[in-house]
């Protein structure tokens, strides 16, 4: 028990800093959309980190869960009139349900898993955007939930989700459960021999990661309130979440948060100040990352044997 107390200090500080920064930020910077989108990508990078950082499964189609959550939340708002927070929770459950259906994909590994997951996300997209489902999903004509538009509430909800997903990452990082995940990431057979229930634990992480993406997607949709399927199923969302997580360093708690914050601020800064150089600067940065920091920013510390959360 004594040993576990110091280990909680790190996560508590990270959570407190996150909460403080994003609660105070609107006082100094009024572009609510930038702050909310930054939290969205920090949350997604962290959600992806839960899966990729701890199990080694890289979900190229992570946006499928995000879009599912966005649409499930919107449909619950439209057809049930339930309180919006219940609808967001429903978005997470819907994404987890899709993840459960796609559970057999976990039998694949490496690039095969990534590509199959990507294909699955596109299937979900085409189903949602299908003309014949116009009366339910709005099909290609998009969906509108203006009746619940409340930017301040959606901002706070996104912050709460960011804290939850970060707390989960900290749990994975510090708990026996997380150690089991790391063991199966390195060698699933040995991990199974050591008593780790490989299938069950992998499935749990898969579902949790999907549910988080779903709830983040639901909150994002709540904030947009008028959107087309392409806005929440664009592959750019997956690519950004992956790049941001890798830039910071997967398998850590701080890495994906730092990666997403730094790169998103840079993305936004270049977009506003020098859009003509956007692709050049961003591309060069990613090439540099792959060449010199393949394990992300956090490796600068871990190389020097500095223990990071």
């Amino acid at each position: 028990m004594r040993k576990s107390i110091p280990s909680l200090r790190g996560p508590a500080i990270v959570l407190a800093v996150l909460a403080f920064v994003f609660l105070m930020a609107p006082e100094f910077y009024t572009n609510h959309s930038v702050l909310l989108t930054m939290m969205t990508f920090m949350g997604l990078a962290q959600g992806l980190n839960l899966l990729y950082g701890f199990t080694g499964y890289l979900p190229f189609g992570y946006v499928g869960f995000f879009g599912t959550g966005a649409y499930a939340t919107s449909l619950l708002v439209t057809f049930t009139g339930l309180p919006i927070l219940v609808c967001v929770l429903g978005g997470g459950l819907a994404a987890a349900l899709i993840a459960l259906i796609l559970g057999p994909l976990l039998r694949l590994s490496g690039a095969y898993f990534s590509i199959a997951n990507l294909a699955a996300s596109q299937i979900i997209y085409f189903i949602v955007a299908n003309e014949d489902l116009k009366s339910i999903t709005g099909g290609p004509y998009g969906i509108k939930i203006e009746q619940v538009y409340a930017p301040h509430a959606s901002y706070l909800t996104m912050l709460a989700l960011l804290l939850v997903v970060t707390a989960l990452a900290a749990y994975f990082r510090l708990s026996r459960f997380g150690l089991g995940l790391k063991a199966m990431n390195q060698d699933p057979v040995s991990a199974a021999f050591a008593g780790v229930n490989v299938v069950r634990e992998r499935l749990i992480v898969w579902l949790v990661s999907a549910a988080m993406a779903g709830m983040i997607g639901g909150t994002y949709a709540w904030d947009l309130s008028v959107f087309y399927p392409s806005a929440v199923f664009t592959l750019q969302i997956s690519v950004f979440a992956i790049v941001f997580a890798l830039f910071g360093g997967v398998g850590t708690v701080i890495g994906p948060l730092l990666g997403a914050a730094v790169l998103y601020m840079l993305y936004d800064g270049i977009g506003v100040s020098a859009p003509q150089y956007f692709e050049l600067i961003y591309g060069a940065l990613i090439v540099g990352l792959v060449l010199f920091l393949p394990n992300g920013l956090m490796s600068l510390l871990t190389r020097r044997r500095i223990n990071v959360l």
């Binding site: 004509y141 947009l224 309130s225 806005a231 936004d268």
Partner: protein
């Protein structure tokens, strides 16, 4: 007594000295040095070609008015230069969301103009309403936006897509064409047109023999065309975006199939580009919506007529304008008229000015007419046919009769 008078006089002079300059300067002190117009454009991605065309038209308008000393702003009773603050959203809705917010909350623009099309406009609609800003919407014509009364949205340079095909439907009924096939892309822009067309035809006693949606990315029309041909339609209407129209016309040309009438949207907007990619021969006798500058408006009540605009634009840019340049320029013109009429420099006053202009203003795009939901009901497109003329095609307006410049060639001869 004299002392008291002196005191009173001094006090009067001092008071006047303090108050009068303030009163005299009230207008100039509150008038901004420039009118900031915030907008987005896409330099890359799906909407780049169209978005840049629209943006270039708006930029051209700003340059022209600034050369003339700026726009007349009634609220300040003087001309003020305009400054365009623009960011690149790269055709991404998430980037567009943050940049629209940037324009509103950081740059504090006076007027907010949306990027091209419904997708990139959609994210600005709730943001503008939240910040109580009037969103000037040049080309976002999605039916979804205009479902309720609003003071914060105005579609200014393109009719709401639900009304585009009305003249086309009436043309088909007038021609007594009974067998109509409709193929459309499954997106807001195209499907809402297909729905209006079908509804109007059915009211006129014509039920389409084929009515089918395809994904927006569809480029393989071979099987679809043969399926449609099996229904023996007299007229085949295809609603798509430029890549769809190009693929459709190419496939039709190489398929050996022939229909008495074929309609697509974009030859009337991007004629030169489409002739280059599809070939003039493959486009011959195709019907389309003719748009400015391919059709001319001469009796404008505000701004230049089409011929003057084409001449000036071509001289300034060394290239002839297309419809999207016209749409961008027209957006500027409508804002210019609005600023010239709004008695106060507030968003609500701007909106009221637009409502007052509705039905009374005619620009090079035609009649400006919006409803209380912000939808554009004027600027209606006619129906035209591309008639071969040497190595190219010329646009002949065939409907409605009061705008017609020639008779339709129906049935279209085999090429």
């Amino acid at each position: 007594m004299i002392k008291a008078l002196k005191k009173a006089w001094l006090a009067s002079v001092m008071t006047a000295g303090l108050v009068l300059p303030g009163a005299a300067m009230a207008d100039t002190a509150t008038a901004p040095s420039v009118i900031k117009i915030g907008t987005l454009y896409a330099s890359t991605g799906n909407f780049a070609i169209a978005s840049k065309g629209q943006y270039e038209g708006l930029e051209y308008w700003a340059k022209e008015v600034n050369a003339d000393g700026g726009v007349f702003v009634k609220a300040f009773n003087k001309k003020i230069p305009v400054k365009i603050v623009a960011y690149d959203d790269q055709s991404s809705t998430s980037t567009a969301t943050t940049l629209y917010n940037q324009l509103i909350t950081q740059d504090h623009v006076d007027l907010l103009v949306a990027d091209f099309g419904s997708v990139l406009t959609s994210v600005a609609v709730p943001l503008a309403a939240e910040h109580k800003m009037l969103l000037i919407d040049p080309t976002g014509s999605g039916a979804n936006f205009f479902t309720q009364k609003t003071n914060y949205l105005a579609d200014v340079s393109i009719p709401s897509s639900t009304v585009w095909p009305l003249p086309l439907a009436h043309f088909l009924l007038d021609q007594h064409i009974k067998r109509v096939a409709v193929i459309y892309d499954s997106n807001d822009f195209d499907a809402s047109q297909a729905e209006t067309l079908k509804e109007t035809l059915v009211k006129g006693g014509v039920t389409p023999v084929y009515y089918h949606g395809v994904p927006t990315g569809e480029t393989n029309y071979n099987v679809l065309l043969h399926t449609i041909a099996a229904r023996r339609p007299e007229a085949l209407i295809e609603f798509g975006y430029p890549p769809n129209d190009i693929a459709f016309l190419r496939t039709l040309s190489s398929s050996g199939l022939h229909f008495n009438m074929t309609f697509t949207i974009f030859p009337g907007q991007l004629m030169k580009m489409m002739e280059k990619t599809v070939g003039a021969k493959a486009m011959a006798y195709t019907y389309t919506y003719p748009t400015p500058p391919l059709v001319a408006t001469t009796d404008t009540t505000y701004g230049p007529d089409t011929a003057t605009f084409v001449k000036d634009y071509t001289a300034a840019k060394n290239e002839a304008p297309n419809f999207l340049n016209v749409a961008g320029f027209n957006t500027g013109l409508i804002m210019q008229d609005m600023l010239g009429q709004a008695p106060q420099f507030t968003q609500l006053s701007f909106h009221q000015a637009l409502m007052d202009m509705s039905g009374k203003t005619k620009t090079l795009e035609g009649e400006f007419k919006i409803n209380e939901n912000g939808a554009q009901l004027g600027e209606l497109f006619s129906v035209a046919q591309l008639i071969p003329s040497g190595d190219t095609n010329k646009i002949v307006v065939v409907y409605p009769e009061d705008k017609a410049t020639g008779k339709p060639v129906y049935p279209a001869p085999k090429q």
